[in-house]
Symmetry: C2
Subunit: 386 residues, 2 copies
């Protein structure tokens, strides 16, 4: 649905990599397949439900690959993402976020009549409005109570979990469990820091579970975790469902984490970079080169993109430009500047908002150097903000 | 062309402001009209050509308003932006940027057969390839030689201007003048810093002009300048055309500049905030509130958005959330937290990449508080990266 008639696709199936117009969002399909398999194996071998976050890829095609590999469904953050993915055949979606607007809640209730739908709540107002909307539509949804486990964003305090779950139940809704995601912990660099953060989060979940038990309410499931910490949540014994999203692509920022995907007793899961922005050198100065990709092509909220070939630092050149400067290598050498027209592969600092800048994924089989374009998937939920 | 069939517009003409779905990109049409008139008056009263940068708004509707107010045409940074705006009836476009890819240059040459087109060059390779493409298509374009006037990005050194202009001419192309834009100067906070930067840029332009004169080449026009410095370029005596873009909307970052739009002998031109992201409070904690707009709704390359109502600091809450904390006012008071469902108007830190995140402008007449939706323009060239 995100195809813009005025925008030509940067490539067609069968094109060689060299023919992909720039800047373009390119998936190394072989690397992505290995990432999908590695996460699916981690979850299934250890008995966890896997519900990957589709806010990362916004693609029905990738959601279906994840479900084919064993995922129970996907998460999204926005109603409009859920609507678009549902329209493209994704049958089980969890909006892991609060919606409080009555017009939006009427759409939530309508969508709940078309697919299996879950949603998060963190306020009495939100619960009451959701209940009214579902009642008016005659539909049902799974309702998770979100608790704040350290992010300081949405979510109620663990001590209020029982009260809110009771309000869910007294409104005649289905209490599906706790939403407990610590976004801030994902990007802590050392494994020790991440371990401390998730131990703290787990303690808060246990407080919430105790609070629910005091209220006489059984908690069917605790859902959360991300690519930076999932092995820690898995090892904690409190989470039952993992929501990792970025593992499918891996961005520069996650790769900067030390020993991501590891936890005591959980082994080590490694993911590969599978998402790139193909750019082209458009200008060469005395000591720098300029590529045709700026922060309208890649998000910079988690820093500048990496340069896949190595040997260069990427500096911000504004909305439409990136500036490459050679860096001195360990052996004392410095790479020669590329020439006008040369290809430079960028590794996005943060995948999710980078994907949201593009209309299409160009899927390449056989590697970036000599591969061939296999697919040109739409980023179906690109721009789905509401 | 950027209408996504899967995305509903956040409002319809005639809707009250309260009915606009969130997050949404909202123009205060009255404020924008005053900005358009103020810049047009500045240019016409002082005899400058005005060619606003459409990279800011990516909208044929706004480009036409600018031309109706006296602009000679618009600038863009990307070929695909030019193609889409041309398709929507913009007749005179300058791609103020280098294009070196041969497949792209064939499209440039084709477009030059449909509208009046100009383009920048900064390399021998680029000039030769452009000439070959135009010759093959049998079309013509105005060619500007870009010189680096302090940004350290694209552009040749002023001392090479003559050589490149000669290559333009010897290839049978039309040398239209010099592209001289100092992007880095736009965001220097003090007027003294900006004055030093533009005096330096002007000196480099004069060097390039002398270099052209030595080569016996007349320079028809020097084009450049932005919203942060245009009065300084105008006062310098070397620029003949102004490319300001952000003045139409004004973002938080430009508003942070002291005495923008002023220069000795040029008076003072003031612009108003005309572009906003409408957001909604979705969660309220003990000392913060969370709105449903994160950096998928507004660009943060120039910092966080401002809060139009005042009294709150906006902190980054990730891709889909913003966190508001009350700040202590001058009178020692602190604003009360908003309630779930309340509207919060955000002033984007940087307009251009914020606009690129949205599919539609919701144009409001009569003010943000009690106005009515008048227009729902597509962001025509949204996502035009190539």
């Amino acid at each position: 649905m995100s195809h813009n008639a005025g925008l030509r696709a940067p490539a067609q199936p069968g094109d060689p990599v060299a023919a992909i117009d720039t800047p373009a969002l390119v998936i190394d399909l072989d690397a992505m397949a290995r990432n999908l398999a590695a996460m699916a194996a981690f979850a299934s071998e250890r008995g966890f439900r896997l519900r990957p976050h589709a806010k990362t890829h916004k693609s029905a095609a990738i959601a279906k690959l994840q479900m084919a590999a064993g995922a129970v469904g996907v998460c999204v953050q926005k109603l409009s993402e859920a609507e678009v993915l549902a329209e493209h055949g994704v049958p089980d979606i969890y909006i892991s976020n609060e919606i409080v607007d009555e017009a939006k809640l009427a759409r939530v209730a309508a969508l709940a009549g078309r697919i299996r739908l879950a949603i998060a709540v963190d306020s009495r107002t939100g619960i009451d409005r959701l209940a009214a909307a579902l009642k008016a539509a005659g539909t049902r949804a799974d309702v998770f109570v979100e608790i704040d486990v350290g992010q300081g964003r949405c979510g109620t305090s663990p001590a209020a979990a029982g009260e809110l779950a009771l309000r869910v139940l007294s409104n005649g809704l289905h209490f599906a469990g706790l939403q407990a995601y610590h976004g801030g912990a994902q990007h802590l660099r050392s494994s020790a820091e991440r371990q401390v953060a998730i131990e703290h989060a787990a303690a808060l979940v246990r407080t919430a579970l105790a609070n629910l038990a005091e209220a006489g309410i059984q908690c069917p499931l605790v859902t959360g975790a991300g690519t930076g910490t999932f092995a820690l949540e898995a090892a904690s014994g409190v989470w039952g469902e993992l929501q990792c999203g970025s593992y499918v692509f891996m961005d520069r920022d996650y790769a900067d984490n030390h020993l991501a995907g590891s936890a005591p007793g959980m082994g080590q899961v490694a993911f590969e970079h599978a998402l790139f922005v193909k750019s082209q050198v458009m200008s060469v100065g005395a000591a720098h080169a300029v590529v045709d990709a700026g922060h309208k092509s890649h998000a910079i909220d988690s820093g500048m993109p990496g340069v896949w070939q190595g040997g260069f630092e990427f500096r911000n050149g504004g909305d439409e430009h990136g500036i490459l400067s050679p860096v001195t290598q360990a052996d004392g050498r410095t790479a020669a500047l590329p020439a006008i027209g040369d290809t430079v592969w960028l590794i996005p600092g943060h995948c999710d908002p980078t994907v949201n800048l593009h209309d299409r994924y160009i899927g390449v089989r056989g590697g970036l150097a000599h591969g061939v374009v296999e697919s040109t998937w739409a980023v179906d939920a690109r721009g789905c903000l509401t």
